[in-house]
Symmetry: C2
């Protein structure tokens, strides 16, 4: 069993975790970043990022994150990839604000053959879009199948796109996509929307939006990019094949907050509740990026969250927060 000790453990090496790492390095903290897979986060599968200010043109998610990873390496950050943390055991009595040093608070973090004791933790484990799990989906994610209209909508100027879902986000994003696309097909498995009335009214009155009711996706086809969607009407069992330029899946998003669900407060959907300093309900644990209750899930906002969380962790470790 390997044992490590650190002032700050950053869990997750996507945009939020790496943003936190750069700020922790600049604060000369003793810290460690772990990721269950490789550094970069889910954004590495995104074709083009047009909206990380300062990086012009069509930089890929992979290349943007390589820049940020190299930036971290300049600071000699201690990054362990392929390292899963399974359990966090908080201090028996959390002594924040009762006159002793926060450095006496010890979180024990357990992985496979690994135990890390940390004085503070930043949770930057991100969120995962819920998936359809149909044929062709894996193949075309980042190649025409997207989970983010704010990210990719502008790439479909005058094109035909499809939105899968009927909730608030699906309709909101469909209403965003009509600014660019010629037609937005909304595919929903029921014959009415779950979205709030005001959104429904807007969607129904928009001539660019067309509804495909009672239908589910059977599979995606294409060559280098998605080109066709096979749909099944679940009432009639009729199969239809539609030509399409892009697909946006909005069947929900799931925060990766399993690890801390019993020790910090979550909202109804499982996102970690944070205050202005990105502190969670437990002193010493901070959250940054998509895993928290944020209003916008973008690379730029996740990186900035990381900066705030690391700065707050530094203050906490110095008994200033």
């Amino acid at each position: 069993m390997e044992k490590l000790k650190t002032e700050l453990l950053i869990i997750g090496a996507g945009p939020a975790g790496l943003g936190a790492a750069i700020y922790a390095a600049r604060s000369a903290l003793d810290f460690l970043v772990v990721d269950k897979f490789l550094a970069g986060g889910q954004i590495v599968t995104t074709e083009f990022i047009e909206n990380y200010p300062g990086f012009r043109g069509n930089i890929s998610g992979y290349d943007l994150m390589q820049n940020i990873i190299e930036h971290c390496k300049d600071f000699n950050i201690n990054l362990r990839e392929n390292t899963v943390i399974n359990k966090i055991q908080p201090p028996k009595q959390n002594i924040n604000k009762i006159g002793k040093s926060n450095l006496e608070n010890i979180f024990k973090c357990f992985g496979d053959e690994l135990e890390i004791t940390a004085n503070s933790i930043i949770i930057a484990t991100g969120a995962s879009p819920k998936r359809l799990f149909v044929e062709g989906e894996n193949e075309f994610i980042g190649k025409g199948i997207s989970f983010c209209a704010t990210c990719d909508g502008a790439l479909y100027n005058d094109k035909e796109v499809m939105v899968i879902g009927g909730g608030n986000t699906a309709i909101q994003e469909a209403l965003f996509l009509v600014k660019f696309a010629k037609t937005v097909y909304i595919v929903h498995r029921r014959n009415q929307l779950r979205a709030v009335k005001s959104l429904q009214l807007k969607a129904f009155s928009n001539p660019k939006i067309k509804f495909i009711w009672d239908s589910v996706v059977e599979k995606f086809d294409g060559s280098t990019h998605v080109e066709e969607v096979t749909l099944k009407n679940i009432k009639t069992n009729k199969i239809t094949v539609k030509k399409i330029d892009g697909v946006f899946e909005y069947i929900g998003i799931k925060p990766n907050s399993e690890l801390v669900k019993d020790i910090v407060d979550l909202d109804e959907q499982g996102f970690i509740l944070t205050n202005k300093n990105l502190r969670t309900s437990m002193a010493g644990i901070f959250a940054a990026g998509d895993v928290r209750d944020t209003v916008l899930r973008q690379v730029i906002t996740a990186v900035a969250d990381g900066a705030v969380a690391a700065t707050s962790a530094d203050k906490y470790l110095n008994n200033l927060l």
Copy 2:
């Protein structure tokens, strides 16, 4: 009198305003950015930025902002420099949330020989550090005189630096600087600190921190970089000249919120109060970056604020917020 009309007026073209512009452009909003001076913001005078993730090495504030300005130009944003807005007249009755379209809300913004009618506004006017206004200060700002230890502290490894001020921020930043600097001199005009007790105790017990009481700065000298500070003891009138590698002025920061002080709620120090969506107390007016009640004032957080504010303004204009 020139008259313009826009859905969204962004006031200020620093990191927050330009971050907002990129997101407004990607949302296909009809918008206009104005700056009283040139685009880029106060950060253009900073020597090196090491902590805008993705930009490695010693990029200057000027070069970073040129990248972001060029990024904006790729989206053909409508930017008017040297354009002062003197007054904002809100709609007589703000009709947000009473069943009518937010596009019927009209703010009238008055400049010199200019009137802009806007359906929504993002205030991104920044904040200005309070200044000493002594000889040599102008000359060496960005050349050894800094207003931000988080930004520039790491540049003074094993060097001698001076902090001017005795409040919370001054002491907090001095405690940050000891991680790098050999000695941190704190120069304060009184013989006791204004900072909270816990900070005082930390500072007094740190062997790297030395206090110069009852003293004010008379002038700064140097060649290409600040090298000497002339101090006067205000009780004895004794003049001392100290060799120094860097100076951090922390005599306060002043939000540039004058324009909206009568129409939105401010905190005690004049920073604009915002909610999670960066909405101010008035529907249709948003705030981003240093001018608002944020916990961290950095380029990355200001740019991210811009992204959030623009996304919120887009939702507001579509009656979704």
